[in-house]
């Protein structure tokens, strides 16, 4: 602490032009040789400039306050409302889809093969949005995923999940990686985990991919239930695709 404290005071004196020629000389040499030290000095210089932009700082403070107020007023009750609405909707969809699926399963001839439909509608081109900080394994997994080395990515994703099963983003991309390696059952397990979690941003995609996986492994009745559910949820991200695939399935 003492050394750091003294170093800090030295930087302050440098920035206030209070160093004597000898001190300045050794300070500049240290800047040249010691990258960490140079970064400290540069950060302090930048801080001085940026903190003085008081109007922008004040604007950010007010936007932050507005965000907090918005969250208090809107988000909490809305989440509750959506969940209740969703639960009812899901229950209704499952009931409706149950009858529809029995009808389809028994009576309607296949217009398209499940595999063809899967290939048409499956699109894995999803950009990664994971927080990489503090996890070297994750960075490695992301490289493998981006290079389409899905099996390697799966191994690392699974390592991460074994110590942190709540990492939904990792679960999602592990699921997609399983699809790429054609291990659809493992993919479905992970998508179920995401859907069950109920409080994340990947639910809609997980439902859609799960439905496609079900279709691909030949569980058409269950897949149709899922597509029906998605097609009835007008704000669902995959609503349009679900309607299309149901048409293709001749529903």
């Amino acid at each position: 602490m003492d050394t750091k404290f003294n170093l800090n005071e030295l930087i302050e004196r440098y920035l206030n032009n209070q160093l004597n020629p000898e001190e300045l000389d050794s300070f500049n040499k240290e800047m040249e040789l010691n990258e960490k030290f140079r970064r400290e000095v540069e950060l302090e210089k930048d801080l001085k400039i940026i903190v003085q932009r008081e109007d922008v700082l004040d604007l950010r403070r007010k936007i932050h306050k507005a965000a907090l107020s918005y969250n208090r007023k809107n988000e909490s009750p809305k989440i509750l409302h959506i969940n209740i609405k969703r639960t009812i909707l899901i229950a209704a969809c499952i009931a409706a889809a149950f009858f529809v699926s029995i009808l389809i399963y028994n009576n309607i001839p296949r217009k398209n093969s499940n595999n063809n439909l899967f290939n048409t509608y499956y699109n894995s081109d999803i950009s990664l949005n994971l927080n990489r900080s503090g996890n070297n394994g994750l960075a490695e997994a992301l490289i493998s995923y981006n290079q389409k080395n899905y099996q390697d990515a799966i191994n690392i994703f699974n390592d991460i999940l074994s110590s942190d099963s709540s990492n939904i983003a990792v679960a999602f991309y592990a699921g997609v990686s399983y699809i790429e390696t054609e291990d659809f059952k493992s993919a479905i397990k992970l998508f179920n985990h995401i859907i069950k979690d109920q409080d994340n941003l990947y639910i809609e995609h997980a439902e859609w991919f799960r439905a496609l996986c079900l279709l691909r492994i030949g569980n058409k009745a269950e897949a149709i239930k899922e597509f029906e559910k998605i097609s009835k949820d007008t704000i669902n991200y995959h609503n349009k695709e679900a309607k299309e695939i149901l048409k293709e399935l001749d529903i």
């Binding site: 404290f5 800090n8 005071e9 950060l43 302090e44 903190v51 932009r53 922008v56 900080s133 991200y237």
Partner: protein
């Protein structure tokens, strides 16, 4: 949605009027949130994009460099959209071809195209301000006084601290807290990493 005219928005932003900022947030944040989420972002990303867009527009208004040739909603949406695309691009993926807009009738304003939204200084400013605002009120005051060139003895007097030694220690602790948060931020690390290349 509480109605507010575009003139009121522009004037209110320029004056950093809290009521206007609250109304802008309530009226337009849901749209931006939907756009970001539809394009694989999360709530925090949406908040970030929204804040930066408002700062950009504020600076344009302040510098008398703001011409609204479409509705404010379209303009704001476009700034946020561009910002989110660039932010994703910085993460290594190209989004532009596959961008899902939330409202199909939107004509994306070309007015925003010239804006360089992601220069280094902007990212630094965003991070520094974010972490600065997370400090305690006292820390913020001490550091502001310091960055405005006040000496330790002046800060001691203004803050009514018991001694200069105490001021130096407090100032050091506040500054270290701030610097630690900044150095640990992935975006900042990326800037430093790019500089060393």
């Amino acid at each position: 949605m509480i109605k507010i005219s575009e003139e009121e928005i522009i004037r209110g932003l320029l004056l950093r009027d809290e009521k206007v900022i609250n109304l802008i947030y309530e009226n337009y944040f849901p749209l931006i949130k939907r756009m970001v989420k539809r394009n694989f972002g999360n709530y925090e990303n949406a908040e970030d994009v929204f804040q930066e867009a408002l700062v950009i527009i504020y600076e344009k208004i302040k510098n008398n460099d703001f011409r609204l040739r479409c509705s404010f909603k379209t303009f704001l949406y476009s700034v946020c959209r561009n910002q989110w695309i660039k932010s994703m691009f910085k993460c290594g993926r190209e989004y532009q071809d596959k961008f899902f807009d939330v409202e199909e009738y939107f004509v994306i304003s070309h007015d925003v195209q010239d804006y360089e939204l992601f220069d280094e200084i902007k990212i630094k400013e965003k991070l520094f301000h974010k972490y600065f605002l997370e400090l305690s009120k006292n820390c913020q005051r001490i550091l502001k006084l310091y960055f405005y060139g006040k000496t330790n003895s002046e800060i001691t007097e203004i803050m009514r601290f018991k001694s200069e030694i105490y001021t130096r220690t407090r100032k050091y602790t506040c500054k270290e807290t701030l610097k630690k948060k900044i150095f640990n931020n992935p975006e900042y690390k990326k800037i430093l990493y790019n500089k060393t290349l």
